[in-house]
């Protein structure tokens, strides 16, 4: 079990099932999670305090979502951005890696691994 003093996970645009899995993982490990559905809300949350992990679901507003990814990788390099897509799109995956994603998960990669991937991004800090 990884212990954290102030872990923070921010999710953007996740559908209910996937969000539930990440939420359950966060609860099991005593991690604080916040979910937003709009890019502006995501940006505002980042200004209040950069999270350790941002799970960024692509699809609603590609240009703004990927712009956010690029800005975060430049201004908050310690925030691990995990990009999630629901279709197999090599071009978008390549672009997401190029813009600084820590991991890109889209079919055929098993989405069930997402909670584990999120957990692995969190630095282990001993109390």
């Amino acid at each position: 079990m990884i212990t954290m003093k102030q872990a923070q996970i921010l999710t953007y645009g996740l559908e209910a099932g996937l969000a539930g899995r990440v939420q359950a993982m966060a609860h099991d490990h005593g991690l604080w999670l916040r979910a937003v559905q709009h890019v502006d809300a995501c940006r505002s949350a980042m200004r209040q305090g950069t999270p350790a992990v941002l799970v960024l679901m692509l699809g609603k507003d590609l240009v703004h979502e990927l712009t956010l990814l690029q800005e975060l990788s430049a201004a908050a390099p310690d925030t691990a951005v995990i990009v999630v897509g629901d279709t197999d799109n090599p071009a978008l995956a390549a672009l997401a890696w190029d813009l600084g994603a820590r991991c890109v998960m889209q079919p055929p990669l098993p989405i069930e691994l997402l909670p584990e991937v999120v957990l692995r991004q969190l630095p282990a800090v001993e109390r």
């Binding site: 712009t67 690029q70 800005e71 990788s73 430049a74 890696w97 190029d98 991937v117």
Partner: protein, 443 residues
């Protein structure tokens, strides 16, 4: 451009020579004024674009907003300089070519600055091959790649420190080839940045860069990305592997085979990063020896920040600019007291720690500069470094001793000759030799 130049500066057509040079240059060149109006373009530009300078001279090159008014306006939008160029920074952009043949261009923008600010922007077009997988992306997404690329430029790594200069030279060498590179440095010394900068300066910059943190990804994902044929559809140009010793040994073995073969035309270039000495990791059994050998054609050691304090001011400027992407602030300076505290710190977390400190201090600062009170407690209360002493007499005696020993060697122990070499009386040489305990017979 005046008519007052001597006739010898003109070529037979009457143009000033430098204009003639630009007009006849092989590379497509163009010149924009400070308001982005097209002032000049050479013949190569006309051939590349299919536009005639006479028809478009004086028109503005600005980004497309909604539907373009006409074909020329749409074509000239390609030459709109990015915000970085208008701010005075040399930069590049990849844009879809205006030419009927299609394809992609790399546009290099060189701002021309005068005493009053921006005078204009000189531009150059280079045709670049874009991987098919990326060429299908919309222009606005491709523009994000350019913005990202401009954050990683090897020429921003200038330093007077020999160790950093050496790193820069090695990085430039690495960018000119496709050989695997190993980067070694403490956490936070900039290995990721350097890997990306090498990628951006190299031939593979038109393909994508992927940073794969072997500590933070399940092995199955690493396998799928790097070794599965489906992963290769992404046309990765460079893969930066962080801490490959954290991968299972069988995966390391397979990666070593891939690195050793490396003869596929579209294979990515590999850069590997280690915090600790990889040779030690091999001895400890964490890192497979074959993988380390295959990845270390070129090894680059990055110095820690405590050995780069001469560059601290440049880092502070760069990081304060970067924090403005997240926090709206006008901080551009650090007070002298705060600068002293920053310089006194040992920076065990290196550049990453410095960035975190500056980001937090920017958020706390009330004015236009970071004060000592804005820094974290452990920096505010650190003891200031003791003033460095320069003992003049001791240093002079050391130099004198070395010169005497050298003169005696040159004179093969002959004191008379040695005194002549030093330009002093023999008696004085004798006295100094006794003072230093130098025996001529030992020379």
């Amino acid at each position: 451009m005046t008519d007052a130049s001597p006739a010898s500066d003109r070529d037979p057509s009457g143009e000033l020579r430098w204009q003639s040079y630009l007009r006849h240059a092989r590379e497509p060149l163009f010149l924009l004024g400070r308001h982005r109006r097209l002032l000049f373009a050479n013949r190569a530009w006309e051939e590349a674009t299919g536009l005639r300078l006479a028809a478009v001279r004086g028109k503005q090159c600005r980004p497309k907003r909604g539907r373009a008014q006409d074909h020329e306006e749409a074509a000239l939008a390609v030459f709109a300089p990015p915000a970085e160029a208008l701010a005075g920074q040399t930069c590049q952009a990849r844009r879809r070519a205006v030419a009927p043949a299609g394809g992609w261009w790399q546009l290099d923008f060189f701002p021309l600055l005068g005493g009053q600010g921006l005078l204009g922007v000189l531009g150059k077009i280079t045709v670049v091959p874009m991987p098919a997988v990326l060429a299908q992306l919309p222009d606005r997404l491709m523009a994000l790649r350019d913005r990202q690329a401009n954050c990683f430029r090897l020429d921003s790594m200038s330093s007077a420190l020999p160790a950093v200069e050496r790193v820069g030279e090695q990085a430039r060498l690495a960018s000119q080839g496709h050989m695997p590179v190993t980067l070694i440095g403490e956490a936070g010394t900039g290995k990721h940045w350097l890997a990306r900068a090498i990628h951006q300066a190299g031939a593979s910059r038109d393909r994508c860069f992927a940073c794969v943190d072997c500590r933070a990804l399940p092995p199955i994902l690493v396998d799928g990305l790097l070794l599965d044929p489906r992963g290769r559809r992404m046309a990765l140009g460079t893969v930066y592997l962080r801490e490959p010793g954290e991968l299972p040994r069988d995966l390391q073995d397979r990666l070593a085979q891939v690195l050793r073969s490396g003869d596929e035309a579209d294979a990515p270039r590999w850069i590997v990063g280690h915090r600790a000495d990889p040779a030690e990791s091999v001895r400890a059994g964490r890192l497979v020896h074959e993988l380390h050998c295959a990845a270390s054609t070129l090894i680059v050691h990055l110095p820690p920040l405590r050995d780069r304090l001469a560059d601290l001011d440049a880092f502070i400027d760069c990081f304060l600019a970067r924090t403005r992407l997240l926090i709206e602030h006008k901080i551009a300076l650090v007070s002298p007291e705060a600068a002293l505290a920053l310089r006194a710190h040992g920076w065990p977390g290196n550049l990453r720690e410095l960035y975190d400190v500056l980001r937090a201090a920017s958020a706390r600062a009330k004015g236009e500069r970071i004060e000592l009170a804005d820094l974290p407690f452990f920096l505010r209360n650190a003891p200031l470094p003791a003033e460095k002493k320069l003992p003049l007499d001791a240093l002079l005696e050391q130099a004198e001793r070395r010169l005497i020993e050298r003169a005696l060697r040159q004179a093969h122990g002959n004191r008379t000759r040695a005194a002549e070499i030093l330009g002093i009386w023999r008696a004085r040489l004798q006295r100094r030799m006794e003072h230093f305990g130098i025996d001529a017979n030992d020379e």
